[in-house]
């Protein structure tokens, strides 16, 4: 019965808050479109040249490409590894979930810098010397998105009551693997797409691990942005805004998908 209108004070508070949140974004956007912006409230001349310069910059395009394929590979690897594992745990070893919860909290609780320290120590010498390579980064990314993937897959399995579905399929004569492929997978697919996209957007914004583990060798979009900040403010703004718009579109898609699924589940 929440049909009352917001009072004066809440309106002012939220207005200020939104202004505070949007101001930096807006400024970056204006800066990216400004030919020249100094000592005036708004830029005096506008241009798209920063964006066109950006699109003509091979380093930008290659950084974008690097980011895209690294994130895609990591999410795909995570899917291949996590799907059967989470399925097996949920269905056959539910008592392991306690341990899994602990495991999954760790990437949240341990900051990226700390994770990087351990990874660098482990892989910069010894039998597996993969320091500075994409292998190490993909491995690190796997851990970063572990919580999102685990929760996403697990929640999907629980919402479709995977155990009951599987039992029903088996009673009808389906073999276990067939049952998984024909009954469970199609049902949890939408949920898995959402957590994959979420994981993708998380990785796309990753800077700490990337910079510390492979910063000198592999340039993702974040590393590229960092390196160009010092050069030209306008160009860097254009990068930041393009990046932001991309992430924004991704999260819009995510939200739409999430809402559609939420609706289906609740109906």
């Amino acid at each position: 019965m929440n049909i009352r209108k917001a009072g004066f004070a809440p309106r002012i508070v939220m207005l200020l808050f939104m202004a505070y949140l949007l101001l930096p974004l807006l400024a970056t956007g204006l800066y990216a479109l400004a030919r020249d912006w100094q000592d005036s409230l708004l830029p005096t001349a506008w241009t798209f040249s920063w964006f066109s310069e950006l699109l003509g910059d091979l380093r930008f395009l290659s950084a974008l490409w690097t980011s895209l394929y690294l994130c895609l590979i990591s999410v795909a690897l995570s899917l291949v590894v996590m799907l059967p594992a989470v399925f097996a745990i949920t269905v056959y070893f539910p008592h392991w979930e306690h341990f899994m919860k602990g495991l999954v909290v760790l990437p949240y609780a341990v900051p990226g810098v700390v994770a990087a320290v351990g990874l660098i120590r482990t892989y910069s010498s010894g039998p597996l010397d993969i320091a500075g390579t994409a292998y190490l980064l993909v491995g690190a990314y796997f851990v970063v998105i572990l919580p999102y993937m685990y929760q996403g897959i697990r929640n999907s399995l629980l919402t479709v009551s995977a155990v009951e579905l599987l039992q029903a399929a088996e009673l009808l004569g389906a073999r276990r693997r067939t049952a998984f492929l024909t009954v469970i997978l199609p049902n949890i697919w939408p949920g898995i797409i959402v957590s994959s996209l979420l994981s993708f957007s998380v990785l796309f914004g990753e800077f700490v691990l990337t910079n510390m583990l492979v910063g000198g060798h592999i340039k993702t979009i974040q590393v590229y942005l960092y390196q160009r900040v010092g050069e030209s403010g306008h160009l860097a703004s254009a990068i930041a805004i393009s990046y932001f718009v991309f992430i924004l579109m991704l999260s819009m898609v995510l939200m739409k998908l999430g809402r559609r699924m939420g609706g289906e589940v609740s109906k």
């Binding site: 917001a6 808050f17 912006w37 341990v110 796997f142 800077f207």
Partner: protein, 307 residues
Amino acid sequence: MKPRNRGVILALLPFLLMVLAFQLVPAVSMLAGSFRQEDGTGFTLGNYLHALQSAYYMQAIKNSLLISITSSLIGIAAGLLCAYCITRFTSRVRDRLLMLTNMTSNFAGVPLAFAYIILLGNNGVFTLLFKQWGWDIFGDFNLYSWSGLVLVYIYFQAPLALLLLYPSFYGIREQWREAAALLGAGRWQFWKTIGLPILAPAIFGTLGILFANAMGAYATAYALVGGNYNLLAVRIGALVAGDVVTQPQMGSTLAVLLALTTLLAVYLNQRMARHAESFGFGPAAKTGSNGKVSLRLRPAVRKELGQ
């Protein structure tokens, strides 16, 4: 062994290997490293002693703690106020506001630091404007110092606090307010005796998350101040992957210390979430320590983490 069990183990094996290789072994290696001598052999507590005695490292720890506590407290105050306000709007407006908040929370790390440089840096738009207009309230303000860092940290802390706290406000049932009103409690008395105590676990839990978030924040600080301001996370980065000389053992030691504080904070959050559940509402939302909260609006994702 039955073929069925073999299949199950086959399903789990790659997962266990990945976790072992990229999560557990590095953690153990880091822990071990923190007890190694400078040449990487033997066993010593020297690194910890050194870290706690060195004025330089202690300053980094102190700076990090101070900035985390300050930004968390301001963030939670702002988040609490906004979360309360947001419950006063109709659900349509509320969803819009939350979407905007969620959207800006994607704006973190390097791009965020950069936006602040444009606005308030040495040649920032506002800096120049204020200079031109002759305002010197910001005369002492320096983006690349403590005050600047706090300002930027609050930018990602406050929305996070709002997104984590507002569901708890909906846990306060309208009928509790009505019952309290009928029993003679005024508005303020209701919040003092019922509202805030019920929110308390969520507030402390969120505080834990905010603290961990700020302690571990690296990208923003690194992009904003680089090596110019002594913060624990940035110091660790320099020790381990710096351009000059690396000191992996010392880096490990500081990393262990940092991890201890964030683990403690997240543990607090988990405890509080369990406590909040005893009041009959779902787990307080939790989130990662990298400031990413996209999609945490969806209840399904809000259940994230270890419940």
